[in-house]
Symmetry: C2
Subunit: 230 residues, 2 copies
Amino acid sequence: MAAEKHEWRNLFTLLKLAEMGAHRRTAKISSEYLARKLDASQQTASRYLIELDNKGWIKRTITPDGCLIKITEVGLKELKRLYSNLRFLMEAEYPPSITLEGVVFTGLGEGAYYISREPYRKQFIEKLGFDPYPGTLNLKLTTDYDVKTRSELEAYPAIEIEGFKNENRTFGPVKTYPAIIENKVKGALVLALRSHYDASVIEVIASVFLRKHLKLKDGHKVKVEVLTLP
Amino acid sequence: MAAEKHEWRNLFTLLKLAEMGAHRRTAKISSEYLARKLDASQQTASRYLIELDNKGWIKRTITPDGCLIKITEVGLKELKRLYSNLRFLMEAEYPPSITLEGVVFTGLGEGAYYISREPYRKQFIEKLGFDPYPGTLNLKLTTDYDVKTRSELEAYPAIEIEGFKNENRTFGPVKTYPAIIENKVKGALVLALRSHYDASVIEVIASVFLRKHLKLKDGHKVKVEVLTLP
DNA sequence: ATTACTACTAAACGAGTAC
DNA sequence: TGTACTCGTTTAGTAGTAA
């Protein structure tokens, strides 16, 4: 994420300069004055200004009694990025994603049956954007943290798959969340597909056969990054 | 402004933690994981976490496979402060204040006459909040920068003092801006009180006799921080 | 007044490693 | 796996000062 080391020090300096109006107009700011604002020495402030100038974040004109400083478009963009980052964080109701970790185990094989029911499958394709491999990867959550996280997740807005009934029985509604498995495969977390398992179990689907694709065996730890919806 | 040195490094770390959702919920974040996000070593990330913990910005629970981290109310407040700072900067149309510098000179002494006209005086008290000393401090702007800044200022919203007429003549409207003179005295900048002087001259008023109060003599440099209106 | 160089000091970093 | 200590190395910070 951070393009360069200590970019944030530059960002912070830029923020201070903006507080002096340098994002809107050319402001006369001496390195000594900036130094006081930064709680650093004049020399350090001077170095920072040189750094910012070299990065192209500010435009400097040195005069006998101070620098005329204006934050460039590039610099302003950096500040705006920080701003929208913060705005997103402070105003979003939920974190952008939460991560669950569980251990692979073999279920009763019913996953395939449910996943491949046509009314479900059609909705998976429509609402999740992929045609699910007929089968689920069962993960047993091993820590209190993961179980707690899973239960918090239930309060988050989900992609709702509607239930249906055929001549024989009723299939309940299902809550799904887009997810990334092992930082590699796009798929989805499926909650309450069946009630066989308790709150310490999650089921994951994807367009591929996850066990094979990720070379998973029973007992392997798997990380699932669940994406919450805006 | 900065309460402590390098507080911004802590702030930045806090921001990264928030990006992992730690501002809304307890998140499991290993120092190694944080280190990657910060582009630093695991040891450094660990140190940062200890610092944040000591500051009371986060609550940490160390478990065998990672830290459970939640940003505290105190930490969240810091992030919010940064956020509102930025919001103010990015969304305000004008910088909060701009600084002019000029050299004291003696005018024709008409300032006193204008300032003490009762309809003006009444409005100064009402709109600026002080009873002006009958006289103005004349400042000659010496650099191009200051002249340019002064002219930019004219576009900013001002406190408008209405003109009036008496039996003899007409007194024009006047634009004033609250100002702080030499970082010490609250007063106001007065533009276009008369047309005698060109754009390189400003006039300053205050409730006190500025020349005496600040021990000013002709030729002294004076700094005027002009406060722009929200 | 300024800026910013050089030379030095202080602090932060991270490799190795204990737990 | 984790965290976090020590300690040698690197980097940042500042005093003095020239321009």
